[in-house]
Symmetry: C2
DNA sequence: AAAATAATTGTAAACGCTTACATGAGTTAA
DNA sequence: TTAACTCATGTAAGCGTTTACAATTATTTT
């Protein structure tokens, strides 16, 4: 079953059928209806490969996401797919994990499948070592690349960011206003958005206290036990802190577990602020105050930018979306 | 850059280059090395569309998953992709959501992209109304379909199941042995595996008590508040229950929240068993006893079955993997 | 009514690969 | 030495589209 079968049955040439398929306006309404009817009748679908050969495009956007079980990323992917569909594009999703090698492999895979553009969801795609981002820059030489929550200065890479600096600045400032001075800052990795977050925290502390205690800035693997145990160790080691700002909700949950072990009252003895406003923030007890970074807005903005890029319009390479705090029971705001 | 450029530079015909690309053994070692070297040198990658036109295959498996933020599904997808890669197949993932319309659309999308097979991850793909599964059966007419945690009787559909019946049977039996007779059973939908689970529960209760109280079987949307509020309503309404078996961890968390509101001690006043042994089970307080359904084994088995199907071997249409209970602090086992 | 123009349709050449079949070069057997 | 065979390579015909260009038909203008 191919375009010839349709053209024969509809008594037109294959060119006309092709025009109908591609919505070319130079077809009379009558002919168009006839062809559509025949296509319907025969249950014809154009062959993607042949189509791709002709158009050199799949009409498909590749989406890469390090970890789809991360609720923030999963949400972003969901909204992005929805928006792409609205715009008539298909999408293929790859969950890459965080290993550089895998990210590189998946990116080549998508390129080799000739996607029309690539969306990298999450700062997990930017390595701290800048050389390791070469694979992204290279890809940007072939198709437009959208980067969510990361920034690379390249004319063919378009970045959509939440205002992480502002988020942690505000979070820290609110705590400082309550007279809480020793705020422990928990981060997982030195990604782009990670750095922004840390700078926001530092700036707020600096503004209020004129100095930052580096001991209060701690790196921690992204799971509950690691966070809990780190806090226990730090506390045993004599470090004093009355609040925790965590760059991911899961670390916030770890802080809650720590408070439980140490029988600290939340938020009286320990205030905790998480990040991403994920499901976890509602699961834990007490429920976690968390930064809401407006995933939906972020996703919509990314796709709309991409559409304009694919349409060869001039578009800024950087868009920032502001976010705010979802106040729950681990803080006394 | 195409196969002609390579053939020219390597001073061989395009047929020979093609043979090298496809690992055809009828090429002398010397020629093969020369061609490979040129391909490397030019950075040549075969065009998927042209390749697809010739081979009528993408070398790609389509994976569909209703909700990748469901940790069970996300895990399964991760392992499946890993296994496929091991076997030299690429994969494309679609997160469909639970709406039938979307599931149908994504399935057509994958078929139209000419994937070599389709893996449906999770019982979310089987509708209670059997007519609504026609789209899956139809797809199975075109490519092999793998179904995880669901069962459809069709020669071209291969099902890998966890033994949900056994899991809830065991869970209920353990509670009954402790003398807990009124076990509330919380489910979300009447999927295939949902039915299995319920039957396991009923069988265990029937065996011990010779009758099942249908009031103790309750349907509930899959979120924390809904579960909490349902239990509150039931309790206000006079229903007595000393244990909850939930078909998803998130409902188990809802039960914990309920206990908190009613100031019930866990597990003394209320035992709770979740399902899937997900991250949520470790987040909550107390941590949730949960059924571990061996996602990795399930995934490996699915892919290995698929490989044999694609290799035209005769394979059974149904494989069952047994599971067991991860005991934490919401039960007194 | 003829000429000019616009709208519609058709023809045929790509697109880059795979592969059946043909060819040619070595090897072996008679 | 030549016939029969094997192994390596090449030729050319598809695969199912898109689209520039040519051809035809319909419409408007004069």
């Amino acid at each position: 079953m191919n375009i010839y079968d349709v053209s024969e049955r509809a008594r037109v040439s294959i060119a006309t059928v092709s025009r109908v398929i591609n919505g070319n306006p130079n077809v009379s309404e009558k002919t168009k209806q006839k062809v559509l009817a025949v296509m319907e009748e025969l249950g014809y679908t154009p062959n993607v490969f042949a189509r791709g050969l002709g158009l050199n495009s799949m009409n498909t956007i590749g989406i890469m996401c390090a970890d789809s079980s991360d609720p923030f990323l999963a949400n972003a992917v969901y909204f992005i797919e929805r928006e792409l569909r609205k715009n008539g594009y298909d999408s293929f999703l790859c969950c890459t994990g965080y290993a550089l090698k895998n990210k590189q492999n998946y990116l080549s895979l998508l390129l080799s499948k000739r996607v029309d553009a690539i969306i990298l969801v999450g700062s997990g795609f930017l390595e701290f070592n800048k050389k390791d981002n070469a694979y992204i820059i290279k890809a940007a030489g072939e198709v437009p690349v959208m980067l969510i929550n990361g920034y690379l200065n390249n004319p063919n890479i378009y970045c959509t960011l939440c205002d992480d600096y502002q988020a942690t600045f505000t979070a820290a400032a609110l705590l400082l206003e309550q007279g809480i001075q020793n705020i422990l800052y928990l981060y997982t990795s030195k990604s782009y958005s990670g750095t922004q977050k840390m700078n926001g925290y530092k700036a707020a502390v600096m503004e209020k206290l004129q100095s930052v205690n580096e001991d209060l800035i701690q790196c921690c693997p992204g799971n509950i036990e690691a966070a809990r145990d780190l806090l226990l160790r730090l506390s045993e080691g004599g470090l004093k802190f009355k609040a925790v700002i965590a760059v991911e909700d899961i670390l916030g949950v770890g802080a809650i577990k720590y408070a439980k072990v140490k029988k600290l009252a939340i938020p009286k003895d320990l205030s905790i602020i998480g990040y991403n406003n994920s499901l976890l923030a509602q699961c834990c007890e007490p429920e976690l105050t968390s930064v809401d970074n407006h995933v939906e807005t972020l996703s919509i903005s990314t796709v709309s930018t991409l559409m304009r890029v694919l349409d060869c319009q001039k578009v800024p390479n950087k868009t920032t979306i502001s976010n705010d705090l979802n106040i729950r029971n681990t803080t006394n705001f």
